[in-house]
């Protein structure tokens, strides 16, 4: 979805403007432009004169100014895709104007937040846990007519798909010489991806060619045959990134993390090519495990090279056939896979419903294992996530801990999204609710999100971790984490903990909490339906219809905002959604720009479904 008709004059203009003011624009690639070679040269020169560069980088105000400059027009000029009807406001009408807003707002200009009265993300503790949950979490029902239309549209797409399949041979590779064989691939899934998903395939899996920080550069591609195939146009689009799980903004090509990782890669190479239990164990890994244990406030921790495998391969070593697992219905696929591999009996409870959880637990305790003649279960484990990534909701930890103690069950908490992003100092939902980390038996989390790296950990008692060290497949057979990746995790974790001697980490956590509240409140004020807890940085905006997901993503891309949509296989049919992921790297100006555009788009595409009363006051950042 590139802007093909854009003329290069505007780009030159902006770049000249940047040069005249003696400022370094980090990536002056405007929308739809072939990256200019002159710029590459310039960049190389810039790298050669290193002392100058360092000086410039030290000047924070300058950097901030640069941010404003590169974010202003014309990189964010509006491109019309449709001629008729849609009345988008000009971007200049929005509040994003660098000259006006240099120092106006309370945004963290120099070193984090200025505002004293801001309260970090933390449970208030004024109301009871249950009341607080209901007060802060919203799951608004779908309007009836939208529900009907969504089903109608879905059936239409299916009918059209069948007609299509009947009339034409699909443009995919077919196997030959397989007569008499049973189909190897699931028929419905391939049908779905060919005739429903394919129509909006340009909105997913979009290739990028930059660091996914607060902004990213999309590689433009077009399709000539309705999504069957794509070809690159050779142009690039710089977009505001609202789609990465880069909660604390550690995914960056510059800064302490990147420098340390680079140095570590030069020292130690890129991989050990061996599992931890053989030759892949180094002091680096041991240090990281100790740091992780301290970070989580528990005795010991173990780290793995892959977040998904942390769940999928460790659950089987903890659970066996005569175990009962009580799992939330919105749990991630990795957990579900792990449970299936373990062979344990799984009972699902309704999302965040404590009453249902208690019912399932009570039944489990009372009736025992029916396959084993009603004898008691070996162990019962409650499996929940900290932040549910599709719903944006928070686990009700205090109540679950109470239930766990009441029924003597184990608690496995997957903090993939919440670690680093929740709590006053980023220690996850456990800190957010002020709970004791020792009350949670198994603390699992990933380094993929907040730490801007890869891998996962499990933290808990020394006994648990020792057990895992001998029994976990992910520890015994999977290759150990690569040195630069360990370093990235180590440095980012020390920054969050404040062990580098600055308060950068704390400011980042606060900035994220602030961005989250602001963004969520502004969206609620607009009248779109969002799901989840008011402090969760994952903000799903419900658009319901399949074509609206496509339309929103395409329109936002033309307005230089990259977002992620989620449709049927990942969500229920009726609940297509756009998922915004906020980051500490976003500034207020960027959010304001995004919110203005979202307001505009949701007005035009009819996304303002909410029937709740709207806040008439101006939302303060």
């Amino acid at each position: 979805m590139g802007n093909v008709d854009d003329d290069s004059a505007t780009f030159e203009q902006s770049y000249d403007c940047a040069n005249n003011r003696n400022e370094k624009v980090s990536t002056p690639i405007s929308n739809g432009h072939i990256p200019s070679h002159a710029f590459v040269q310039q960049k190389v020169e810039g790298q050669l004169s290193e002392p100058e560069l360092v000086e410039e980088e030290q000047n924070e105000e300058q950097l901030l100014l640069n941010k404003h400059l590169k974010f202003s027009a014309p990189a964010y000029t509006e491109i019309r895709t449709r001629s008729g009807g849609l009345k988008f406001k000009g971007t200049s009408e929005g509040s994003y104007h660098p000259a006006k807003q240099l120092e106006a707002n309370g945004h963290a200009t120099k070193s984090g937040s200025k505002c004293e009265k801001f309260k970090p993300s933390q449970a208030d503790g004024v109301l009871s846990a249950e009341q607080e949950h209901y007060q802060k979490t919203s799951f608004e029902d779908v309007p009836l007519h939208t529900a009907c239309l969504t089903y109608l549209g879905f059936y239409l797409l299916m009918i059209l798909g069948y007609i299509n399949q009947l009339l034409f041979v699909p443009k995919v590779a077919t196997e030959k010489g397989r007569e008499g064989y049973v189909a190897l691939y699931d028929a419905f899934e391939s049908f779905y991806s060919r005739y429903v998903y394919r129509r909006v395939r340009d909105c997913w899996n979009r290739p990028i060619c930059s660091v996914p920080g607060d902004e990213l550069v999309l590689k433009d591609r077009v399709t000539d045959d309705y999504g069957w195939s794509f070809r690159f146009t050779g142009t690039e689009t710089r977009c505001l990134n609202l789609g990465s799980y880069n909660y604390l903004g550690f995914a960056a090509a510059t800064g302490a993390c990147a420098d340390d990782s680079e140095q570590r890669a030069r020292q130690k190479g890129l991989a050990y090519c061996s599992p931890r239990s053989e030759l892949g164990n180094t002091q680096l890994h041991i240090d990281l495990e100790r740091l992780t244990a301290r970070y989580c406030g528990v005795e010991d921790a173990i780290v793995f090279g892959m977040g998904f495998a942390t769940n999928a391969l460790n659950l089987p070593s903890l659970l066996g056939p005569n175990c009962l697992v009580v799992s939330d219905e919105k749990n991630h696929a990795s957990i579900i896979l792990g449970l299936r591999l373990s062979g344990a009996t799984t009972r699902v409870f309704k999302h965040n419903s404590m009453r249902d959880l208690e019912r399932v637990l009570r039944n489990g305790v009372c009736y025992g294992n029916p396959k084993n003649g009603g004898k008691p279960w070996n162990k019962i484990m409650i499996l929940v996530e900290g932040i549910f990534s599709m719903e944006g909701s928070l686990v009700r930890l205090p109540e679950i801990i109470a239930l766990k103690k009441k029924y003597k069950a184990y608690l496995y908490l997957d903090e993939a999204h919440s670690i680093g992003s929740m709590g006053p100092t980023g220690r996850g939902v456990v800190e957010y609710f002020g709970a004791d980390p020792k009350d949670v038996d198994i603390l699992m989390g990933t380094f993929t999100k907040s730490f801007g790296s890869a891998g996962g950990y499990i933290a808990g008692s020394k006994k648990l971790i020792d057990f895992l060290r001998t029994n976990s497949h992910a520890h015994c057979y999977a290759s150990s984490i690569s040195p630069p990746i360990v370093q990235q995790i180590y440095t980012s974790m020390s920054i969050i903990m404040g062990e580098d001697g600055t308060d950068t980490g704390r400011n980042k956590v606060q900035q994220l909490a602030r961005n989250t509240r602001y963004f969520r409140r502004r969206l609620a004020q607009m009248g779109v339906i969002t799901y989840g807890h008011e402090d969760s940085p994952v903000v799903p905006m419900l658009v319901y219809l399949f074509s609206k997901i496509g339309a929103v993503i395409r329109t936002l891309t033309t307005r230089h905002i990259a977002v992620v949509g989620a449709g049927f296989p990942a969500t229920p049919i009726m609940e297509g959604r756009i998922r915004f992921c906020l980051s500490a790297a976003h500034t207020k100006e960027q959010l304001d720009y995004a919110l203005d555009v979202i307001d505009d788009v949701s007005e035009n595409l009819g996304l303002k479904y909410s029937r709740k009363p709207r806040d008439p006051k101006i939302i303060e950042y």
Binding site: G85, K87, L160, S547, K548, G550, A551
Partner: protein, 81 residues
């Protein structure tokens, strides 16, 4: 004025395509679905006209219009049963 009307129609046509998911499909599929819609509409209309109208007429004891109108032979001219 004309422009406004065209814009208005365009916009709501777009919204209509959006809610019926026809926005994402190919042109011939859009036409096919509209043809199906029209056929369905016509079938319903004919069903209402020929069956439902007479059934409700009989049910509530209304006399068909053709029988009341003077000077018109039954089952000739306007056929409103």
């Amino acid at each position: 004025m004309l422009n406004n009307i065209i814009n208005f129609a365009n916009y709501w046509w777009f919204r209509y395509l959006m809610v019926t998911e026809l926005y994402v499909v190919e042109k011939w599929e859009r036409v096919a679905i509209h043809v199906i819609f029209m056929v369905l509409f016509c079938v319903f209309w004919y069903f209402n006209y020929s069956v439902l109208l007479s059934v409700t007429g009989n049910l509530f004891g209304y006399t068909p219009m053709g029988n009341i109108l003077p000077g018109v032979q039954q089952a000739s001219g306007i056929k409103v049963t």
